[in-house]
Homo-oligomer: 344 residues x 2
């Protein structure tokens, strides 16, 4: 028998509600001989207002000891933009070297896409998670004056690109269509872009069965709405991945269904799973939030911890539930239904 | 009587074909007492292969003397990515300080959008054109080795942001809905983002009638496909504008209809008008290209040179033509039809 030690960060707004349902489904999915031990951490806007802390070093040190982290949502309009993002969410991704930011884009049967013709969409974006314009390497001069100059530096390393590119090739190799698309903007951001393109070609030599292509990020957004079925696996930089995965969520039925994993495949640090949606303070506490994105993130968590069959069962439960959805259900009704399907 | 001195850069691929139709319509639209004097410049992939030149200083100096520039399309797969973009297209934008990159997103009646429900779309993106990640301020260390590090620096100045933000407020003020949305990523790119937000608020004080809001770029892509009717005027940085305007083109019926103006409102340097689409070498020389984006760019050129009524006539001709389109017509058939409507 095994024990999974899971850190849970419900966070702000609807975070609490959706995480409760995610845990319900996780319990239902785990084999009987696996014990789930959860420890909740109070992080986010409330703690920030109470103590001024975003992610104290002591908490970071504790989190390090867990098998994985489940996060709900972080953020509130009362906190200045950037404080919780840089001080908590991104701090976790960087501290735990979550270089694989995995985001599936899948249109489930029964879910309506804003795209006419309801195309078949089933791709996965492998977004780099620890480099690019996200490194926090910016500054400003003459701040607050009419002569202010502000910079943001995108940092890109062969080491950092190679590991995410290789991970993406492996995923493409394991999928039926075996297609990998690199997205960048190598005609303008020539230094970073050429580095990505070089590594993409070099690592590609190890995967002769994988068919590859390249798209500029602007062109990629066009194909996301005109021909999303053309994509299988996409690998891209941190910022382009941020933009493309929200667009992917939109065309696959909305941010309420979009799951993500912030993964460190080495296992040296815990990986973190979270719905892509935010804290949605306008509907918080009303039982209106859709917990499906959190439940799909739980499936990714299961997969990551080696429970592939259980992950598949959670996904199948979601697929079946979505195919039959009618009327309005509360957050916990959806969670109950999914947990029921998983254990049933 | 006045003479308009126009520099014409047909460029590569379908550039030649679409520019010919654009000029046809321009001639038809101009008042009888206005003389159009065009000078063609051979720039692009062919010249690069022949001479190694992208934009010689002598040509740049000559171009400076024109009232405006009409450009078809630049680029060919035979030229390494970045050479013509940085050496020609962006060089022109920077040399002539084209800080207003204007890109309308309008779904014309009769044009089918990939979005279900054919929403009403009529916004304009005011993209900054001379700063941000486009400044070419990148580099690489240990190039070509497994230890390569590549950087790209986004440069943002209060001066540069203020002029484009003020331009966008003016445009919003002049439109019926009077709405302006700032798009950035100020929760991650905090230095550049906060500078944009500060200037946006400061300049906003001069335009009390304009309603404003802010969206992160990732969230903006969602609204582009789920609620594009919510947008009126959008102001954003160079790279986000690049991405969003291709997405805008996609949801408004495709890149074949998307016009753009690279504008220097001071008139110190000539402004440049070009379709957003590329050179499309696969269909070049076959009379298959749709010249509509070029014709709409000609309308923007007319507007810029002070011929607002003529610009409106060109737009109306395009709208009428699109509403009645059936069957396939050649590039010149479309141009003839539009020129006919404009003069008729
Ligand atoms: C909240 C923000 C820092 C974050 C990001 O930009 O990565 C979010 O948009 C996401 O996609 O997870
Ligand atoms: C070709 C390229 C340099 C250009 C850009 O990135 O601005 C193009 O995509 C555009 O939008 O005009």
């Amino acid at each position: 028998s095994r024990t999974i030690r899971l850190a849970v960060v419900p966070g702000d707004g609807i975070g609490q509600e959706v995480v409760a349902e995610g845990l319900k489904v996780l319990e239902a999915a785990l084999p009987a001989d696996v014990k789930l031990e959860t420890t909740e951490y109070d992080l986010g806007a409330r703690r920030y207002h109470r103590t001024g802390e975003t992610l104290p070093d002591s908490v970071l040190a504790e989190l390090k000891g867990f098998d994985a982290i489940l996060l709900g949502a972080i953020g509130d309009p009362s906190v200045p933009s950037g404080v919780l993002e840089r001080g908590l969410l991104l701090k976790l991704r960087f501290a735990f070297d979550h270089h694989i930011n995995l985001r599936p884009g899948r249109l489930f049967p029964g879910v309506s896409s804003p795209l006419a013709g309801q195309p078949e969409i089933d791709f996965v974006v492998v977004r780099e998670g620890t480099e690019g314009p996200y490194v926090g390497n910016g500054g400003s001069l003459r701040t607050g004056t009419p002569h202010e100059v502000a910079t943001e530096v995108s940092l890109n390393t062969a080491y950092g690109i190679e590991r995410v590119v290789r991970d993406a090739y492996r995923r493409a190799q394991a999928r039926p269509r075996k297609k990998l698309t690199l997205v960048h903007k190598n005609n303008v951001l020539v230094h970073a872009g050429h580095l990505w393109s070089r590594i993409f070609a070099e690592v590609g030599a190890e995967f002769p069965e994988v068919a590859t292509d390249y798209l500029h990020v602007d062109a990629a957004t066009i194909f996301f709405v005109t021909q999303p079925e053309r994509f299988d696996v996409i690998v891209t930089d941190n910022l382009f991945g941020d933009i493309l995965t929200d667009l992917a969520a939109a065309v696959t039925g909305g941010i309420g269904l979009a799951a993500s994993g912030n993964i460190n495949p080495s296992g040296e640090f815990p990986s973190m799973f979270e719905p892509v949606h935010g804290s949605a303070p306008d509907i918080a506490g009303q039982g209106k939030a859709d917990p499906t994105a959190t439940v799909l993130s739980v499936a990714m968590l299961l997969e990551h911890l080696g429970y592939a069959a259980e992950a598949a069962r959670v996904e199948a439960a979601v697929a079946a539930d979505l195919a039959e959805r009618t009327g309005t259900r509360s957050t916990s009704q959806v969670g109950d239904a999914l947990a029921g399907r998983v254990s049933g």
